[in-house]
Subunit: 205 residues, 2 copies
DNA sequence: GGGAAACGTTGACGTTGGTTAAGAAATGAA
DNA sequence: TTCATTTCTTAACCAACGTCAACGTTTCCC
């Protein structure tokens, strides 16, 4: 792992976590893992710090060793709209900005102190070019993210706010522990007041 | 190209179209193209015919040489909800069902007589395994489909129906030529009556 | 601990989309 | 051509979300 200026030190534990996460996505030989360890950079981020701002190009894929992030967008009226939440032990990337290397529409904010690994765009493209296993990993990761996004479209397209709430309760109960009603509401595509009323309505039933 | 029973015959022209489409997504050597031609099957479909039904597993990727398809879903109330439209010279796949080989939620219907190429799941997985170029292609296709879907989420999440209509007019004018207002409405996430009213409202401005 | 900020709830009111129903217009098939 | 089907529009009514505002509660941070 690169120890560049500004890099804090990753412990054994953190490295084992990312190796397990990668292997759970695609099979990897020792050499392929070495390739990854050589490009990893370790970083810590304080609560409320931003990893990415609107207008910046996402030049990295991140892996969240610990902490919790939200990806949000600021709409025409200046409201923050939460687009996605990412929990620890997951990869974290503005896939759109990363893939086409264009400025992002999003902000990435740490909602808790976080530790993460940084995988620079350039190094990942090199890995794709030099290792079939990494290319395979890239394909699986894209497919994986596609499926996640697909779930979101289905929720927004096929369900009304009440159904979305019940669906999230059932499929992502963790969210309700980590995220305030306020932040959840924009993720659901409604205003905080509407979520509050919706919950009241459901309680009556 | 395999000439199995039931396969009609593809002409030179159709083969050139798919080769061009593949090369526009990822660079391919002659050998890689041969690999594809060896697994291609040619098929024609009449207007209103279904390529896939809810509950079936999507066992193929298709390439649309000519014609126009809609992918739709039937909601709890029995309404057909259009999820995606695919025009000629594009790949056509229920990515979710295809990736995990689980039953699809969707129907694929030809809205015009169509000619297409069929690429079976098994053969594609073999191509991924045997050719890095195909793995690369698979990754790029997944990324490409991701970006398309992402556009859709942004539209549904960040815009109200009126904004969605104006946005589609600007970004996908072809849709308005090929698709009736009726079919467009469910794609936009509203009822036909609402789209009609919305258009009337806009005309007044 | 205390003040500020963020969050949650409620009310009143306007707007808009859903629902139902009906009929006109366009399209398609026999 | 003619009949049936699909699509489009309009109307009336209702339910639900957005907006604005007020206020209580919780959390955060110095």
């Amino acid at each position: 792992m690169k120890q560049r200026p500004g890099n804090t030190k990753a412990d054994e534990q953190a490295i084992n976590i990312i190796i397990a996460a990668v292997k759970s996505i695609a099979p990897m030989s020792g050499t392929d893992i070495e390739l990854m360890l050589a490009i990893l950079q370790y970083k810590t981020v304080k609560k409320h710090q931003l990893l990415l701002k609107e207008g910046e190009v996402s030049r990295n894929v991140y892996f969240l060793v610990s902490g919790f992030f939200r990806m949000y967008y600021i709409d025409f009226d200046g409201n923050e709209i939460n687009y996605r939440f990412t929990d620890q032990h997951n990869f974290l990337v503005d896939f759109q900005s990363f893939l086409i290397q264009k400025p992002s529409h999003f902000y990435w904010e740490a909602m808790q102190d976080a530790e993460l690994f940084v995988l620079p765009y350039r190094d990942i493209q090199d890995a794709y070019a030099s290792s079939p296993a990494w290319n395979n990993f890239g394909r699986l990761m894209a497919e994986h993210v596609y499926l996640q996004l697909n779930e979101r479209v289905e929720m927004l397209l096929f369900m009304n706010p009440e159904e979305r709430y019940l669906h999230l309760l059932k499929t992502k109960p963790e969210l309700f522990e980590k995220v305030s009603q306020f932040h959840l509401s924009s993720y659901m595509g409604v205003k905080p007041e509407s979520l509050s009323r919706l919950r009241k309505r459901l309680l009556k039933k």
